[in-house]
Subunit: 565 residues, 2 copies
């Protein structure tokens, strides 16, 4: 490709409003443009990178025997209604009516539709099946942000497995997990595989692949010693057993004027945060619920959903709280409360002589014995792990990292096959319900994650595997000999199958070099008259910004060597 | 690829409800499944074919310097409102509201969005540009039918050119046209390039690429002698000049009891159809309009739209007709009518002594002189060409063919650049509005058109260029020697880069042979114990169903020779 015939609208200035590094660089280097919030155009350079990412994923899917399909993006509502997800997906699902008034969903994911296709499978002999596609997904994100990282429309590689039993699912899941490890390695994305919540997808287990980045929206917990890793939505840590002194025979009220927060009570009334019971009020599927946490612990809402099986969660409004408990946040408690459901975090189990609100504004209780004084309906791990807490496996201090989710794989179990009446004839002649898995990678998000991982002050530093071009041959000088040498090298590299761009633009060398660095081409060969006359060219490595001198007739071989490393 | 690991759900019976040959064969041979009317899943075989079609199109686009983009499928309403097409597209555009209540269109085509991207172009030096993408288009077709031929969701290659002047557009248009000719040739689609109406796309000229097929919905007119070809929506032919005898000084009424049709008047009252004036009543953008045709001529509604510039057309309801003219269809005429607009077909120009309705039920007029008696507002070619009529160029009898539209290219002119305020700095320092073209191919429709063109009683007969596999190695027999020979040949062909499938299924030879024919693989090598022992294998050509015997060690070379032909 000749640069003069390529549309690469690089920007001199950093664009306003680009929060993430990848967003800023992809705009500035002429890879993407925003059409509206959450919807991006890929310009030619980005199309090249995406194609390479897709090819790598496709190779790894083929390697594990997955077969490529292509399903519609528009789905009849009925199929989503059968699994209940027409309602569960809420505002995140784009919906429309066609000219005949039929309800239609834009596909956010394809469990339902692939399962419908699988209804044609007849027998256990037709299993296992592993099916996948590259396809546009539509999700009405409440807050699209960070360029390609959180969007409303994106390409997904989504795969689905159908097996005759759980052992088969384990095999499929392990094959996908191994493929994901290879894929992210080949893409140059240092993804960490972590245990995760399955969320609205359902199922028994899931693993996320998380790329560390300050632009991420997910926190993961990782043990530097034993390898434990989990999304903060799922992660646990060891909590020191408390040795509470015995308290009074019954809780005692005391006035706490001006107290609104855990810190207020700790500072003014000698009640350390870890001896307080924090009372949060939520609506879980519209049912008012008290959630009890230790004063110094944070709640993870996803854990609350997973523990209770609720589909939706929101904090109660102040008026709802006052109506239920008779007080406002700051003085709430669960002592003596018998109406609403009470869910307590495991860290409160067995605790005595604690502080909590009295459900009278500016009045608290002390000497609370959780098991004696509070009618806890259920116990669960609801607590957010904090960096430095001991690993539950090995006791080492845990790390907490900000990450981008680039892949997520699920053991779905029977949720979709049962809801959609998928059965096959079993080996014993009875009907068997296949067990399913699903496996997704966000393609443009992976592209952005690669940029988040590989950049410097001058621009993007693509891994060779997915760079839009492996090498740029930059002509500096207009004399015939120089131009001819550049053209010869360009032709030679093309003939050798190297993905090469010839920078033949009538620009100053400084502009050309800066553009090559900005768009992130791994290797640059500079063809100037001095080098041509001297019989040696400069070859610059983008990653290190180091330059080596290579004899003119050895450049092609050297470039091929570097590219194939 | 091993057939045992490929999902190819062939059907023993012809599926019900499959009208077109391609629809029937693609279902039966396990290429596609319908999710809902107009929405199809491509199964692995079809994905393979589509990939090959896309690769061919991409090669030809690259060859003419077009650059690949990827634009969003969801568009903000505002951009479509600026060009007026938010309204023009009517029910054919899928629309929805997002969670914030914003109006969104699902892209039917991308003139508006590509033009918006082009707003970043600064100068005439940035032109020409030729941009394209492969992307899913959504169109709410009133009557999806014929499998992949008329659907609501499909992949389109759409290209857009931006040039500084009309000469530049001509160059771009010619390059695309030449690329289309090469593409359809490589796809094995005998497409005829025809002049066409630009319809809602606007612009000064357009050419359609039409594949002859009984499943088509478009009629084209072609001259077997001079090469003239046009869509019937645009086609003309020579009309013999009429030699009317002089009539009376004024039209004369006569009663015509029971007359409702042209034929009634011809049969019962000696008024040959070509001496009658047929009066049709239409609403053009809600304006009632009389359309006058010769009695034996058919009206082309698209010609009426193109001639009047109207956006919408529908026949008037009987009550609207009676209110306007005082009579019902069967006795309508335009003599003395002064209210509604009157548009007349060119074939009526200068005619005298004609018959028409009197706007009194069961009363007609004779002796009508069109220029004397009817206040024609405008003249236009509105007539549908009929097979056998003389070519307007050379007089040869014209053919009329039923066809599938597989491509359509447009000289758009300034419609979109003006509506969206696209200008660049011109060479003389003034602002210049770029002139545009757009160029589309429906990818899955091309796939179906190839099947419509290439099939026989046993199934599909793919051209080698787009076949899912070029050759099938079919194992018949289970003995070690046979299986080993087949595996060796399979490996050898794979190593030679031949797209080969090994039919390793535990099926009877007859089933295997029938499946290879049904799915349409161009070449079949049969590996059985007798052939292996004799040192020669049977190589069967799908197209001719002829078999040649090839020495065992020459099979790979012979297959490569055939595939590369």
């Amino acid at each position: 490709m000749r640069w003069s015939r390529l549309y690469v609208p690089t920007l001199r200035q950093d664009p306003a409003d680009a929060d993430a590094v990848s967003h800023r660089l992809l705009l500035r280097a002429g890879y993407v443009r925003q059409l509206m919030a959450g919807h991006y155009t890929l310009l030619p350079l980005a199309v090249r990178v995406r194609t390479k990412i897709v090819d790598i994923i496709r190779e790894e899917m083929s390697r594990i025997g997955a077969q490529e399909f292509s399903l519609p993006a528009m789905h009849p509502a009925e199929i989503w209604q059968k699994t209940g997800r027409w309602d569960v997906m809420g505002d995140e699902m784009f919906r429309l009516r066609d000219r005949k008034g039929a309800d239609i969903a834009l596909g956010m994911t394809h469990e339902e539709i692939f399962t419908t296709l699988a209804l044609e499978l007849r027998s256990y002999r037709d299993l296992p099946q592993m099916w996948y596609q590259f396809q546009t997904k539509f999700r009405d994100e409440p807050r699209p942000k960070s360029g390609l990282i959180r969007v409303r429309e994106f390409t997904m590689k989504d795969a689905y497995s159908f097996d005759v039993d759980a052992t088969g699912l384990d095999t499929a899941f392990d094959a996908q997990q191994a493929a994901y490890v290879r894929i992210f390695e080949r893409l140059g994305i240092p993804a960490v595989a972590v245990q995760a919540s399955s969320g609205s997808m359902g199922g028994s287990a899931s693993v996320e692949f998380m790329c560390p980045s300050t632009a991420g929206e997910d926190l993961i917990v990782r043990c530097p010693s034993c390898g434990y890793a989990a999304n903060v939505e799922k992660a646990t840590s060891r909590v020191e057993a408390a040795a509470d002194e015995a308290g009074p025979d019954a809780p005692e009220q005391f006035p706490t004027p001006g107290v609104r927060t855990i810190a207020d009570l700790a500072d003014g009334f000698g009640a350390p945060a870890d001896r307080q019971i924090k009372t949060l009020v939520y609506l879980l599927d519209d049912e008012l619920t008290l959630v009890l946490m230790r004063g110094d612990h944070g709640l993870v809402e996803q854990k609350l959903l997973d523990a209770t099986g609720a589909r939706s969660v929101r904090p109660a409004h102040p008026e709802e709280i006052r109506e239920a408990l008779g007080a406002l946040p700051g003085s709430l408690g669960a002592v003596g409360v018998s109406g609403p459901r009470i869910v307590a975090d495991e860290a409160l189990r067995g605790r005595r002589n604690m502080f909590t609100g009295a459900n009278v504004d500016e009045v608290h209780l002390r000497g609370v014995d959780v098991s004696r004084d509070i009618a806890v309906g259920s116990w669960a791990d609801l607590r957010e792990v904090v960096a430095g807490e001991p690993c539950a496996n090995c006791g080492t201090g845990l790390e907490v990292l900000r990450t981008i989710e680039v892949g997520h794989i699920f053991k779905l179990g029977y949720k979709y096959s049962e809801a959609l009446d998928l059965t096959v004839l079993g080996a014993d002649g009875t009907r068997v319900t296949p067990i399913m898995g699903s496996y997704g990678i966000g393609v443009e998000r992976a592209l952005a994650a690669a940029v988040e991982t590989h950049h410097d002050d001058a621009g993007i530093v693509w891994p060779v595997s997915i760079a839009p071009f492996a090498v740029a041959v930059v002509v500096v000088g207009k004399d015939e000999e120089t131009v001819a040498a550049a053209e010869r090298l360009y032709a030679e590299l093309q003939a050798a199958g190297v993905d090469v761009i010839l920078d033949d633009r009538a620009e100053r060398p400084g502009v050309k070099f800066a553009d090559v660095e900005l768009i992130g081409i791994p290797f640059r060969v500079t063809v100037g008259s001095r080098g041509v006359k001297a019989g040696a060219l400069e070859l610059t490595h983008r990653a290190t910004r180091e330059t080596e001198s290579v004899p003119l007739d050895a450049v092609s071989a050297r470039v091929r060597e570097l590219v194939n490393q």
